[in-house]
């Protein structure tokens, strides 16, 4: 039987939680994020599509949604960084009897807003949203979305008919935004009682009507707490931004090698900075040109730049799934992603340079990066052996917003040359 390696985690540590096809792994470092140790596997033999960390009210609680094809999917949590896990006798996420529906998979676990410390959300397959108002002790199906008249016509995407993204509103409004593959974006402005579709302007390349009311295959949406009405969207073909909470969307695929992809992460401190990991196409789901590149915009999608320092630029036929990338909240921010080939890559400087912090893992399904304790109280040491050039670059990375300059010109040039849209329509 496999032995689980345990980590000793303390305040100020950075923890990268990695859900894989065969269990949960944890990578721990101090704030320098230069040396990592790995713990796990937890939930050995289980596919872990969803992980979350809840630090509200002084908790140190990791949530996981391990599942097997044999015994089903169950929520489980740990208050001691994986030394022990709950094994509830009854499944916490259960469809009510009258729905005649069985849970297939847990796709997303999301703590609610800070001012609602007992609220959590869970997105599942078949597409539905569950809510807990008692810190995860009990859960109930959110009937407002379940009873939406569109739901019976939702079609599954390649990963299944899943509700994979939940964005609670950080501004204190009773707003909740979710993404469903393949249905699109839905938003509630009354705490989940009623829901409105929010897909205007988002293309459905695979349907006869390219701009239907619903049916879009949205892969990921993100927003920033300081500007929650600005949303970014990685679509099944298409990169979009909304400045009105999803009421309308505009194309921002300006200078990316492909606007197909899954993963998308928001910079923790700059609402104009977003990271994506383009994929060649829906047919060939590998990194374009066999180069592993993260793309970053620092101007809200007006331009994108390639981040590849330290990443393999030859024979890298990689795929990163929709929850396979995340950022920590230190300054400079750490960026992390895991591949289906079982590698985990990290950048401690906002994407300027990368190194592999794990390899040989089972296929990575999700990555969650957390700073244990209050990130604003953690001092990030300067790199010990920083060369002059990389130190100045790291300083630039710490100031993520930058308009103009050579890279912006390069992006503009790429845009003129056609970029993703031209590739897609070849």
């Amino acid at each position: 039987m496999v032995e689980t390696r345990q980590l000793s985690v303390k305040n100020g540590d950075v923890l990268v939680l990695v859900g894989t096809m065969k269990g949960t792994f944890m990578l721990r470092s101090n704030a320098a994020r230069s040396r990592w140790e790995m713990g796990g596997p937890h939930h050995p033999g289980h596919a872990v599509y969803a992980l979350a960390f809840d630090q509200r009210e002084g908790r140190r609680r990791i949530w996981a949604g391990p599942g097997t094809e044999h015994w089903g999917s169950m929520l489980s949590s740990s208050d001691d960084f994986g030394h022990t896990w709950t094994k509830p006798e009854s499944a916490l996420i259960r469809f009510p009897e009258d729905t005649g529906t069985n849970l297939k998979r847990i796709w997303q676990i999301r703590p609610g807003p800070v001012d609602e410390p007992q609220t959590l959300y869970c997105g599942v397959e078949p597409a539905a949203l569950f809510e807990s108002l008692d810190g995860g002790e009990s859960w109930s199906l959110m009937r407002g979305l379940w009873n939406h008249p569109h739901r019976e016509k939702w079609m599954p995407g390649g990963g299944g008919l899943c509700l994979h993204t939940i964005l609670p509103d950080p501004a204190g409004r009773p707003r909740l935004t979710v993404a469903v593959s393949a249905a699109g974006v839905y938003r509630s402005d009354d705490g989940g009682h009623t829901w409105q579709v929010r897909n205007h302007g988002v293309r459905a390349e695979f349907l006869p009507d390219k701009y239907p009311e619903f049916g879009q295959c949205v892969h990921k949406i993100v927003h920033h707490p300081s500007n929650p009405d600005r949303l970014f969207l990685q679509n099944h073909w298409g990169l979009y931004r909304s400045d009105n909470g999803g009421d309308s969307w505009k194309d921002i695929a300006n200078g990316v090698p492909s606007d197909f992809g899954f993963a998308m992460s928001m910079h923790p401190h700059d609402p104009d900075t977003v990271y994506i990991l383009p994929i060649e196409s829906d047919l060939f789901r590998c990194t374009p040109d066999a180069r592993l590149r993260v793309y970053r915009t620092r101007d809200g999608g007006a331009s994108w730049e390639s981040l590849e320092n330290g990443l393999p630029q030859k024979d890298a036929f990689e795929t990163v799934l929709r929850d396979g990338m995340d950022v920590d909240r230190l300054n400079p921010a750490g960026v992390y992603f895991g591949t289906r080939s079982g590698q985990v890559w990290a950048s401690p400087n906002g994407g300027h340079s990368w190194s592999a912090i794990a390899a040989g893992l089972p296929p990575v399904l999700c990555v969650r990066a957390v700073v244990v304790g209050d990130p604003s109280k953690v001092r990030v040491p300067k790199p010990a052996k920083a060369k002059r050039a990389s130190a100045s670059s790291a300083k630039r990375a710490a100031k993520p917003k930058r308009v103009g300059g050579a890279k912006a010109k390069h992006a503009t040039k790429q845009k003129r040359a056609g970029g993703a849209k031209a590739r897609k329509r070849k």
């Binding site: 096809m21 596919a47 097997t68 094809e69 044999h70 015994w71 089903g72 169950m74 094994k87 509830p88 006798e89 009854s90 499944a91 259960r94 469809f95 009897e97 005649g100 529906t101 069985n102 849970l103 296929p363």
Partner: protein, 96 residues
Amino acid sequence: MSVLVHIPGYLRDFTGHLTRVSLDEGPRTVREALQELWTRHPGVRDRVMTETGEVRLHVNVFVGGESIRWTGGLDTPLPSGAEISIVPAVSGGSRR
């Protein structure tokens, strides 16, 4: 006569590590036997059954050497002294 239920390794966390559970009340069908098993060891139920009350697709339940899929499902009658085995199917591996 009692009915004996064989518990697979995965589920023994929920039976107090018992490998077999003896049901002395003489259940007449598999459904009655499993209901009695859930009463004694409630953690087993949601691992074996779906919310809609079916045995999970990749879990097999045998009475003797015969899968209940071919003998009447949960309503399969239990002869005196029957042995029930709950077994993870060899199917169920993921394509991903």
